[in-house]
């Protein structure tokens, strides 16, 4: 009884899928770490942005020694700020991050110094290690500068000088970034999480079907069946790639409900990750899942034990996690060769999707071609090494 190669591959595929899905504990760890991690980071990020926004919206200013500067109080109130007295031990509180606002300190002799024409010193007290206070410090600085400018203009107006002489030009900022581009400041790490999910989805199954099979002593009897090596390897690779793809799908779609939990309205408006983006992510990721599976299997078939294979596959894991960093070190922006490097190409494309940019056919085809070549090479290497692996 000999059988068609396709049916043999399907038999192997089905068995490997069942086998992998029964390894509940590993599967659970992969699911938790790779599928939940992304949305969790997104949530943490949204909580941070929301608290920053909340602070900005509150329009509060804490002042110590307010009674010495009535003009300042008047100015703050005209800018619709609520003026509050700072707690007595604000320095300690700021240093220990228990107080989240910078404090304006007005000296006792403020008004008399001003009347004498001296420039009194107003301190803005903050702690650069206290993130929240630090983020408010710039705002308070601007507020105080506004007050100073108003005072100066009034003084000049009294003396009959036109305000245009003091301010010969006006500066206005215009931000070219779209809302989505701005959001990539926050969401730039998402592609990395998705890449890791795909990698860890493939890792265990790839090692188990090759080095694991050798370690158990089940590879030799397996090869004593009248099935071609190519169909055995194709079945195994198909199963590993499918698991990796499954994790990729779960991980991409996990951002959809994660998005509903976003607390910050601004972030929600900026982070547009809908069905369209999820599908584009998958188009980019699925070929990579197939290629990574083949490469990991090719590395692992040369190893006698699961442990040895884990050690050797570290090179692949490290490569996948470090390659996307090229964009970080390379300030000159995207280069055409980026699309030829696995992981880096996918990272680049996913970042573009998040920025809301269109992907051209060529941009998609180059990484796809690389993945197809890698898969073919990996599968061929495994098929070639299979018999030698069984008897050693």
């Amino acid at each position: 009884m000999t059988m068609l190669p396709g049916r043999c591959a399907l038999t192997v595929f089905r068995k490997e899928i069942v086998d992998a899905l029964r390894e509940r504990r590993t599967l659970a760890v992969v699911l938790v770490s790779s599928v939940l991690l992304g949305p969790l980071v997104l949530l943490a990020l949204s909580a941070l942005v929301a608290s920053l926004e909340e602070h900005a919206e509150k329009r509060e200013v804490y002042v110590a020694g307010l009674e010495h500067a009535s003009g300042l109080r008047n100015y703050f109130e005209r800018q619709t700020y609520t003026v509050k007295a700072a707690p007595a031990d604000f320095e300690v509180l700021l240093r220990t991050s228990k107080f989240a606002d910078p404090v304006v300190v007005v000296p006792k002799d403020y008004e008399s110094a001003q009347q004498h024409g001296d420039a009194p010193v107003i301190e803005v007290v903050s702690d650069s290690a206290n993130r929240q206070a630090e983020s408010g410090a710039a705002r308070i600085q601007r507020l105080l500068q506004g007050y100073g400018r108003e005072r100066a203009l009034l003084g000049l107006a009294v003396r009959g000088v036109s305000s245009e002489l003091v301010e010969p030009m006006r500066v206005e900022e215009r931000d070219l970034a779209s809302a989505q581009t701005r959001a990539t400041q926050f969401t730039g790490m998402l592609p990395f999480f998705v890449l890791m999910a795909v990698l860890y989805g493939a890792l265990n199954a790839a090692l188990d079907t090759t080095a694991g099979e050798r370690e158990r002593g089940s590879l030799e009897p397996l090869l004593m069946n009248p099935s071609g090596r190519a169909s055995l390897v194709l079945g195994k690779w198909g199963a590993v790639a499918c698991l990796s793809m499954l994790i990729a799908v779960l991980s991409c779609f996990s951002f959809l409900p994660g998005q509903w939990l976003l607390r910050s309205d601004t972030l929600q408006a900026m982070f547009q990750f809908g069905l369209h983006e999820a599908l584009l992510f998958l188009v980019v990721l699925l070929p990579l899942a197939a290629a990574l599976s083949a490469v990991l299997m090719a590395v692992a078939i040369r190893c006698r034990s699961f442990k040895e294979a884990q050690a050797n596959s570290t090179v692949v894991v490290l490569g996948i996690s470090l390659l996307p960093l090229v964009t970080l070190f390379n300030q000159s922006g995207e280069a055409p060769w980026h699309l030829w490097v696995p992981a880096l190409a996918q990272n680049t494309l996913m970042t573009r999707v998040l920025k809301g940019e269109e992907l051209s056919a060529l941009q998609m085809l180059v990484p796809l071609l690389v993945c197809v070549l890698l898969s073919a090479a990996g599968v061929a290497l495994v098929a070639r090494g299979l018999r030698a692996a069984a008897v050693k």
């Binding site: 000999t2 059988m3 043999c8 068995k15 009897p221 090869l223 069946n225």
Partner: protein
Amino acid sequence: MIAIEHVARQFVVPRSRPTLFASKRSSERVVRAVQDVSFEAPDAHITGLLGPNGAGKTTTLRMLAALISPDAGRLAVDGIDVVSRPREALARMGVLSDARGLYPRLSARENIVYYGALQGMPRDAAHARAEHLAQMLDMEPLLERRTEGFSQGERMKTALARALVHDPANIVLDEPTNGLDVIATRALRDTLRWLRTPAGGGKCIVFSTHIMQEVERLCDSVVVVSHGRTVAQGTVSDLLEQTGEQDLEEAFVKLAFTERHALADAGGTKGEAA
């Protein structure tokens, strides 16, 4: 029927510890695992492959299972050449190899049916066969259990059932009693005897061992392999007669190790050949 004619196989292995002064040529060592093994195992007959450790039994059986290709000689299963038509030959053989790893997360039944499917059996037939084999090997309670945590005997039974799932005409077993207790060994012997009978299918059974008792109790004929060569073959009484001994163990030592001394004497010429 299995026929093996003058097979030979050598391996080139790197020296485990190359010394500082070793020349490049000697940094590789040639191991001649099998030099000249020949025997014929007819149907309805149990043929024992008897030899000391390292005699080349496992290498010979691996060549028979098309895992290693021979450097010289011919191997045939029911007239099918193993080297040129390995898949057809494998379909006519059930091999219980030295390595008998099972899939721990699959049940015994799933392990057996998987091999049935790989042999091209329809699923129903493979399941029916698994049940039949479980009955024959007295392992019915094991069938639905995952093989993780199986004892040696339970593992062997499952592996044997897996090898026999496609009801092959030729059965090859490599040291099947390794690690089995008395009860399991006896059960295996009974099974093999039954498989030899016309009711059991009149199988051609080849099994390798280094245990005299097994050969005496089970084998219709014995092939003594030593140092990669067939040194004697025949029934147990033939071998006793040939050596003039009363006891198979004495006969075996005489056959296997006097031959080795003879080879050691010829060591000079062998070295040059390598």
